[in-house]
């Protein structure tokens, strides 16, 4: 059971667009298959992560994209776990290939969030909360994450300014990422002066509403070698997933147990430890998430994840040397919900193959992806990717 490879990736424009979900997929597909045989000659199965049918009044996204890619008589389906949908698609691709079910699986993510406007996105995302027990209160995603952030400030020696610095760092990273929705810097004052969405979280603590699509072609090592040179491949070395509570009511608000378990499984499969990870895309839907996840996956000691913007040498003892959200993260690269998990893989692919341009982390050998659905510990999907050559 040798580890599958990611032989190619593609990503659409991310941001506010006039394109449909299928158009966005077409952009990503075209990039991934540039110089390769037609998808129909390569792809054995397709998974697509997609959060909400309400944006485009469209279900059956598996068949929709398989047909558009020219595939016939292949398994194709949509998977959904809110914002973790993309990583769920990637995980199926990885498992199908390593178990020998298929030689090549196309993992896709698509979301056309702007179709319903901001209120449409707020409403669609609120469907991720428990209908019977939580939605009726009117609670939103920012207000739930604000509870986590309040608790973080209460438990730890941390400040709103430190949350702001996570946003500043991720915007800075995005200036070097041509794929990013916001390729401009912001300063701490701008973040702190932005309106509260749900205290202590302000507008600039929150990831935007984004359209976007991304794809990753997962294949056997043998097929990867037919399609691409080794230095244009990445090893899908480990995957883990863990669902826990929908509700924030019954859990440790400042530790994401599922992220710890899912990432632990991915580390174990890959034969690495947290300290081996050079670059990580963690699910910074809100700035507090980056701090929480850095702690939950073993990069930082409890209460010190908030130091992620600091250079490694200035961080507290117990921190690893990992570079977090080099793409700009959900915050600045953008957060097209169902596509985010695959967009994270695109960034890792570029870092591990030395194609990350001005944001390249020298010597990047091992990457961790952490994609979450719902609020924090609802579901987490983690992947470890490694340099192939």
């Amino acid at each position: 059971m040798s580890a599958p490879r990611i032989a190619s990736v593609g990503c659409s424009t991310i941001g506010r667009t006039d394109l449909t979900g299928r158009d966005l997929f077409s952009q990503a597909l075209a990039e991934a298959f540039e110089g390769l045989p037609d998808p129909a000659e390569v792809v054995d199965a397709l998974y697509v992560g997609n959060q909400s049918e309400t944006y485009e009044h469209q279900i059956m996204y598996g068949t929709l994209l398989a047909e558009w890619a020219g595939l016939r008589n292949v398994p194709a389906e949509r998977v959904e776990g809110c914002a973790a949908a993309g990583a769920l698609a990637l995980r199926h691709a990885v498992e199908d290939v390593r178990r020998g079910t298929h030689d090549a699986v196309l993992a896709c993510g698509v979301e056309k969030m702007t179709a319903g406007g901001t209120s449409g996105a707020t409403d669609a995302l609120s469907a991720a909360f428990d209908r019977a027990l939580e939605q009726r209160s009117g609670i939103t995603a920012p207000s739930q994450y604000a509870l986590l952030a309040q608790r973080y400030l209460h438990e730890h020696d941390a400040t709103e300014e430190e949350f702001a610095r996570i946003a500043v760092k991720n915007h800075r990273n995005a200036t070097a990422n041509p794929r990013a929705q916001y390729q401009q810097e912001v300063d701490v004052e701008t973040v702190l002066d932005s309106s509260y969405v749900a205290p202590p979280l302000k507008l600039f603590d929150c990831a935007p509403v984004s359209d976007g699509a991304a794809v990753a072609l997962v294949t056997t090592p043998e097929l990867a070698d037919e399609l691409a040179p080794a230095d244009e491949q990445v090893v899908a070395a480990g995957t883990g997933a863990a669902a826990n509570n929908i509700s924030v009511a019954e859990r440790d608000l400042t530790f994401v147990e599922g992220a710890n378990v899912a990432s632990g499984t991915a580390y174990e499969e890959a034969g690495v430890e947290a300290s081996d990870v050079d670059v990580a895309e963690v699910h910074d839907a809100f700035t507090v998430c980056e701090a929480l996840l850095a702690e939950s996956v073993g990069f930082a000691p409890r209460g010190r994840g908030i130091e992620s913007p600091l250079p490694p040498e200035e961080r507290s003892e117990g921190w690893t040397d990992v570079h977090l959200s080099t793409s700009g993260g959900l915050k600045a690269r953008g957060h097209p919900i169902g596509a985010t998990g695959i967009a994270q893989a695109v960034e890792a692919y570029e870092q591990l193959t030395g194609r990350a341009g001005d944001r390249q982390v020298e010597g990047a050998d091992t990457a961790l992806l952490v994609n979450e659905g719902g609020v924090a510990d609802a579901v987490t999907v983690s992947h470890v990717l490694r340099r192939a050559a």
Copy 2:
């Protein structure tokens, strides 16, 4: 790689209820785990087929049900391919167990269709058509299947009365199924005199709007033997899936290629042929579907699938002896969209373990399940189940 077992099944009330999707799941779960250890002691992963978030304004059904079942830190997700969602969940469970990823996976299906009323269901189902190319015409599921039925009548020596006899047969079967939504007979005149929904399909040619949930516990043979005697197990011998066109515009209207391919794969994995199948639950969302699918999966010669209500000795040459839709089918057992694929497995489980009461097919050894999403050839998922003892 030995074939997994279905060690237990459960099914909720099917029909128009006051229950939520989670309530319905609880009913099904309680039935499946009667006499077994708690789910948390057994289940390693959970998949749930669910068509539409619009009925209950609820996504993240994977986590929702995993949490409700008391599971922690397990992979849990929703899969969606419209009405094939249930079989997609079952397929993942089967593949995960036979590939050694997990020892026990809970395949679930849930739908709460009545929450949005009939117009809500019509609207939610229309999301299965291509938004850009078809939905805008106002076309509905019945009107698309009516095109197939018209073509069937045009190509073959068949009548509307013969379609009606399929509904009559399935209602008769449902009178012996305590799980069925409609446990009453209808006669040919009632079907023929019912209103046209989309000619030639009338009200009684169409499956109803239903609430319902069903679960199947898929395990290794070893674990199945710990949980249940061999005569209360079923072998999950083969699975296949095939997606083709969303649109009816570019395909053979009277042959479901994907059903042929998916069932062919399932037959091959199980080492059986169509003629070995004793009982089959095919996706009779409309009466014409049963005829089309009987032909596409190899039970009947082209143009003669419409003879499914006849006793085997009166059918045309080339027909097998299969008994179709013993549960009453989607037509009379009910069609809770995302749950239908698992409800089909529940019927096969009861037939193959000799628990089907007055509808028992004597000597039933091999069952085929055919679950479809979208219109006919959009996506098909097939399973072959076999008697374990």
